[in-house]
Symmetry: C2
Subunit: 345 residues, 2 copies
DNA sequence: CTGTTAGCGCTTTCAT
DNA sequence: ATGAAAGCGCTAACAG
C-alpha cells in the first residue's frame, strides 16, 4: 500500500497525491476530492519515513528528560506533546535515567532520527554532546543549563525568587529557626536552590546553619528530617529542595508524633500533583511544567521554522500556600519530642 | 553527511559500510576497523528512516497509553522502554487522554510510522481500529481488553484474585462492614474490579451493599468517602478501585478526625509509587507494571520476530500489606464521628 | 569478502 | 493544474 496505488486508483500521478496529502493549493478541488476518496478507500497512511527522507524535514522534536517516573516530568511531557501536536509536530521522548552514558545514547537517537530540534530538560548537560547538535545546525533548548547561542535557547528558572518567596512566607509566620533539606550536590539545580536559601536567610538577617542533604527522593527527605529532629535546636520550619523530599520529611515528622504545621512548618518545591493530597496538603513553590513546556516548544519552533535566533526565557516559580505551614508555635506550647503523644498516623 | 561519504573516506563501497553498521560477520576485521574509524571521524549517525525504508523494518514498537500523568503509566513506560532498548528496538509513545478521537490519532500515528508492533495499554479499545493493525499484519498486544488471534496477544489481569486477596485480608482482621469505592462505570477494568468485590464478599457470606462510585482520581475518592462517612452504618473497612481513590479517601477520613487504621481500615489497588509514602502507608494490591511491560514486550517480540502466534498471558496482582489496615475496632472503643477529637492533620 | 545496483515510498523540481 | 523523473540515505540481492 503506497502512494502509487492511490495514484492509480484516483487516476492521477503520484505527485498529485503527494500534493493533496500536503495540502498544496495547486490541486483542483475536484481532483483533490478524487484523491481523498482513493485514500479513504484504500485506508492509505503515508509512510512518515519516506516523507522525511524525501522532504528533509522530520516534523519531529526530541524531548530529553531525566526520568519519566519522576513526577516532575510526566506533566512536562504531556504539555509539550499537546502543543507539538497542535503545530503538526511529533515528539520523540528519551530518558537519560540521570546517567551520562545514557545521555549519550539519547543524543545519538535524536541524531539518527534527524529531529528538527531538541529540548534538553535534564539538569545536567555535557557540553561536548551539545556540539553535536550545534554542528548539525539543530535547534536546542535547555532547562537552565545552557547558554544562548545562534540556535540554542535557554529557559532560566528564577530559583532565587522561588526560594525567597518560601523564606518570606515562613519568616512572615514568625519562624526564625528555619532549616533546609537540600538535594544532591551533584545536581546543579539542587545546588542553586541551596544557595538561594542561604542567600534568602542572610538577607533576612537569619542564620542558615541547619542544612541537611537529601537525594531529591522520599527516602532522603525522611532521613534528613530524622537528623534534623534529633538536633539540639529543632527547627520550627523546614524548607526542602523538592516536594519528594518534603513528603519524606512529612513522614519522619509524623513518626515522631509531632504535628504539621502545629509543631513544625514544612514547605516543598515544584508542586507536583501529589502535593495537594498529602496530609496536610503541602505548601510549596510551584515550578510550572506547562509554562516550561510552552517556552521550550516556542524556542524550538521559532528557531527551526521561523529562522529566529536562540534566546533566553525566564520562568518564575510562585508560592502555593496550603496547610503544611503555620504560625511559629509559642514557646510554652511547643511540644518536645520526648513528650509527644500518640504515635504518628 | 551520509553513508557515501563514509564509504569514500574508508575507501570501500556503501554496502560494506552498511554491513559494518549492521554488524554483519561478512566483513574483514580490518576493513570493519577502517570503516569504524571513518564513522567516528565524520561523527556519522546513520539515518534511521532511510534504514527503515530500505530494510522494511522500523525497529520501533508503539506503546499506546491513556495518560502519562496517571501514575500507573510512567513505570510501565520505563520498564517497556528498558526492555525494548535491550533488544535493539525503540519505542514510540502515544497518549489517548481517554479520548476515543485521540485514540484514532494514535493509531494513525502508529500506522504512519510503520511500527513493528503495538502495545495497547488502555482499558478501552475500538474493535474497528484493531482491524487496521490486523489487516496490515502488525502484531498487537492488549491489556485485558482484547481477544487472542493470529497476531494478537492479550494480557489478562486476574482482578478477581487481587480483589479477593484484599477481601480475605480485611475479613481476616475481623471486618464485616466493608465498603467499596468503585471506579467510573465506563471503564471495563473498573467494572470488573467492582464485580470482583461483590463476588468476593458474597463468597465470604457478607453483604456487599455499600458501594460508592468514584472516578479513579483523588477527588472522586474524597467525595465517595465523605458519603460513606455520613452513612448510618459506617463501614469499618473500605476497599477502593485504585490507589488514587484511596488517597482521596484517606484525606476525607482524616478531615473528620478519624484515624486510619484505628477507626477505619483502608486498602487501595495498583500500588503506585506514592502508596508507600502516604500517612499511614497504604495497604494495596500491587499490579506490577514491570511484569505487564515484560509480557507486552515478549508478546510482540515473539510474534514479530519469531513468527509465533498471539497468545494469552496472565498477571496476578498481589496484596501488599502496609499500615492502613488493622484489626476491626472493638465496639466500645469505636469512635463516633461526632466524638472525634483533634482536627485532621 | 566486497562491490554494483535496484529498489524502499515520498517529495520536489522542471516541463508541459 | 498535472505529470515525469530525479533524488533522499540506506539495504539487500546478486555478481564476482
Amino acid at each position: 500500500m503506497n502512494i502509487r496505488e492511490v495514484a492509480r486508483l484516483a487516476r492521477v500521478s503520484t505527485a498529485t497525491v503527494s500534493r493533496t496529502i500536503n495540502g498544496s493549493d495547486k490541486v483542483t478541488p475536484k481532483t483533490k476530492e478524487r484523491v481523498q476518496r482513493a485514500i479513504e478507500e484504500l485506508k492509505f497512511y503515508p509512510n512518515t519515513w519516506a516523507r522525511a527522507l524525501g522532504s528533509g524535514r522530520s516534523s519531529l522534536y526530541g524531548l530529553i528528560i531525566s526520568d519519566i517516573t519522576n513526577p516532575f516530568f510526566p506533566e512536562l511531557v504531556k504539555s509539550f506533546e499537546d502543543i507539538a501536536v497542535q503545530h503538526g509536530q511529533e515528539v520523540l521522548i528519551a530518558n537519560t535515567n540521570y546517567d551520562p552514558a545514557r545521555m549519550e545514547v539519547c543524543v545519538s537517537r535524536m541524531l539518527q532520527r534527524k529531529v528538527d530540534g531538541v529540548a534538553i530538560m535534564t539538569s545536567e548537560m555535557d557540553e561536548r554532546l551539545v556540539m553535536e547538535f550545534e554542528s548539525r545546525r539543530i535547534p536546542v533548548v535547555f532547562l537552565d543549563t545552557g547558554t544562548v547561542r545562534d540556535l540554542a535557547s535557554n529557559i532560566v528558572v528564577d530559583y532565587g525568587a522561588g526560594v525567597m518567596a518560601a523564606v518570606e512566607h515562613v519568616t512572615g509566620l514568625g519562624h526564625t529557626e528555619i532549616a533546609f533539606i537540600a538535594g544532591p550536590g551533584t545536581l546543579r539545580s539542587a545546588r542553586i536552590r541551596r544557595e538561594a536559601f542561604v542567600e534568602g536567610m542572610t538577607r533576612k538577617g537569619l542564620d542558615a546553619g541547619q542544612i541537611e542533604q537529601g537525594n531529591h527522593q522520599v527516602s532522603g527527605g525522611h532521613e534528613a528530617m530524622a537528623r534534623l529532629l534529633r538536633a539540639k535546636r529543632r527547627p520550627t520550619a523546614v524548607l526542602t529542595s523538592n516536594d519528594m523530599t518534603a513528603i519524606g520529611a512529612l513522614g519522619a515528622i509524623h513518626e515522631t508524633g509531632l504535628r504539621v504545621p502545629e509543631d513544625i512548618s514544612l514547605a516543598g518545591f515544584d508542586d507536583i500533583a501529589l502535593s495537594a493530597f498529602t496530609q496536610p496538603a503541602l505548601t510549596t513553590v510551584r515550578l510550572s511544567r506547562e509554562e516550561i513546556a510552552r517556552m521550550a516548544f516556542r524556542a524550538m519552533y521559532n528557531t527551526s521554522r521561523e529562522g529566529a535566533a536562540g534566546r533566553e526565557f525566564t520562568v518564575r516559580p510562585v508560592l502555593v500556600v496550603r496547610q503544611s505551614t503555620g504560625p511559629v508555635p509559642a514557646k510554652g506550647t511547643r511540644r518536645l519530642r520526648e513528650a509527644a503523644g500518640a504515635p504518628a498516623h
